[in-house]
Symmetry: C2
Subunit: 337 residues, 2 copies
DNA sequence: AAAAAATGGTTTCGCTAAAGGATATTGCAA
DNA sequence: TTGCAATATCCTTTAGCGAAACCATTTTTT
């Protein structure tokens, strides 16, 4: 591997001069700069990121955490997309992405220890168990953190307009004549809370009564759970005409339950999801859902995190809300006709 | 950040001694070792991976490349799963995963330059354009490489038993009485070729005639393309009773085309996919397909790559074939009844 | 002659490999 | 048993890895 030293020797200048030339310092003549830059290129020089990091204490590396549970995390389209867009932005600015996790290596480092070991400049927390002590340690550490879809006092969060999203879905559903609406929520988090608020707000706005018996708890991205809960709902005496699912993936479970019970969608029961994963628009019938803008979420998360890294003094923790879009599918029946 | 120096000072020994104690060298007394290890823990010491890498020329970092095209790469369940399992294995051995890509940073490094810059110990090539010069450069470089689902002379490949997989599907379909079978293949690669061989072999085995007009070219993971090609197939005079899709995702496009044309699946036309993504078993009807064993593929890729890194002398390039499993869904009609 | 511009020398980041040195332990012939 | 070399044990010193910051020096410009 060719180093600054080699270039210096070949060109008869000092190492310091080469370093300056390649890093575009001002106190170097244009002539030498050009000569050295050319030599570097010809010799196939590439900086050694480790050496640079050691000296500057900046790795240009961002740690990304996502859930390691099977079927969650990366293989969940929503997060995969966000990370993908996040990466695009980082790529351009020369930041690399490294997966960080709990229990890393033979020493079984904690998440934070792992980050410290790799000296990441910043951390993105996507899916995963945000209530774990490991995450807590990271949040309280001194590395800039951005979270997706989970609110902490001391970290910046990027999330969809959950409240408004659900409200829009409620608007749509009520406009289609539904008044008996069941709501299945994901595990209780700040996000779930907001969505539920959106649900209440939407219903109240239109004077639709909310039946507390029809607010159910399930889980995110959990087919089986949605299946079971949906069955429970439809086994009661008074049945809703429309069911809100925690997310699109769960919706599949819920819909399967309905079909298994002999209900036709949307003729007998209407269904709405949340997320806008690609399959929701490919299935038959197409799912009515609120599509989260993963591209913007990913981009803003990267923008914000890099800003926190590069201009710590001008940045502050905040909640960034990204608007999504209502996808009008075929799973909500128009009862007004 | 506490360093070896700090520990050395506090404990009144040399830096080298601390290093040895923490790295379990033999020429250190048990007493001092224990004392130093404890001190390190108490002081919250963590090694600086950059400094270590600089000295040892080993980063314990593996570069992962996947396609950056929208909708491909990470957000494709098949690859996301493989990477996820690959990561699990690496985690345990203390290897980190860093995404590498072409056009990285302000200098727009090539893929190989990017890897060199980060000094990755090894590279995993998953999806992506394997025919690009950038990949070629990596393949010809001096960093160990493992590819998924693409064969190079000079790299180890881990892939499904494509030939046998398709053959099994053919067996199944023919057993169900089909003889007029159309086959849509993905873009031409060594993998496509093997699958096609499996198709031929399967048909010949059962004495089923292959109609060359029914071998179509499309693309992997491309709904629109599958949609169009499926329509073309069904617009001909002589129509097949069963269609092989390039992959499960494409199958969705193909099936949508069939439904749009008024065909019922499987009553009018049978369909089989390839991959075994989760949706394939959630959709209605469930897709008959060949499920690739992503867990084993990911694990073997990691095992092999790390072996190439740690024991370069005992490792050689090879093709590792992983068996999958036929999922009997509901998209193939039994014509024998 | 003073100021500005260009270049160089040296140290440092944190770590480890290799060689070197001090002390204790053993081997073994006298 | 004694004496002294051989050996083992444990630790220190030295020497970088590659890049960049800092300060010093030389050269050029005004």
């Amino acid at each position: 591997m060719v180093s600054l030293k080699d270039i210096a020797k070949k060109c008869g200048v000092s190492i310091a001069t080469v370093s300056k030339a390649l890093n575009d310092h001002h106190d170097i003549s244009d002539a030498t700069k050009e000569r050295l830059v050319r030599a570097a290129r010809e010799m196939g020089y590439f900086p050694n990121s480790q050496a640079r990091a050691l000296k500057t204490n900046r790795t240009y590396n961002i740690g990304v955490m996502f859930s390691e549970e099977e079927g969650k995390g990366l293989s969940q389209e929503f997060f995969a997309r966000i990370i993908s867009y996040f990466k695009d932005y980082c790529d351009n600015l020369g930041y690399d992405l490294t997966f960080v996790s709990s229990g890393f290596g033979k020493q079984k480092m904690s998440l934070y220890e792992h980050c410290k070991y790799r000296n990441v400049d910043g951390i993105l927390l996507t899916s995963g168990d945000f209530t774990s002590p490991d995450v807590f340690e990271v949040i309280n550490g001194d590395i800039p953190v951005v979270t997706i879809d989970y609110i902490f006092e001391s970290a910046t969060t990027v999330m969809s307009s959950n409240e408004m999203g659900v409200e829009k879905l409620v608007d749509y559903v009520i406009k289609n004549g539904h008044t008996k609406i069941a709501y299945i929520q994901g595990l209780y988090t700040s996000v779930t809370k907001r969505r539920l608020q959106g649900f209440f707000k939407g219903c109240q706005k239109h004077g639709v009564e909310i039946n507390p018996d029809w607010i159910y708890k399930a889980d995110y991205h959990n087919l089986e759970k949605a299946y079971i809960v949906t069955k429970q709902i439809m086994e009661k005496d008074e049945k809703p005409t429309c069911i809100f699912m925690p997310d699109d993936y769960s919706a599949l479970g819920g819909m399967r339950a309905l079909t298994d019970m002999g209900y036709k969608i949307p003729e007998d029961v209407s269904v709405v999801g949340f997320d806008g994963i690609s399959y929701s628009q490919l299935m038959n019938p197409r799912l009515t859902t609120y599509a989260q803008d993963t591209k913007t979420i990913g981009r803003l998360a990267a923008e914000k995190l890099i800003n926190m890294i590069e201009q710590p003094e001008t940045s502050f923790t905040e909640e960034i809300v990204v608007e999504g879009e209502l996808y009008e599918g075929e799973t909500v029946k128009d009862l007004t006709k």
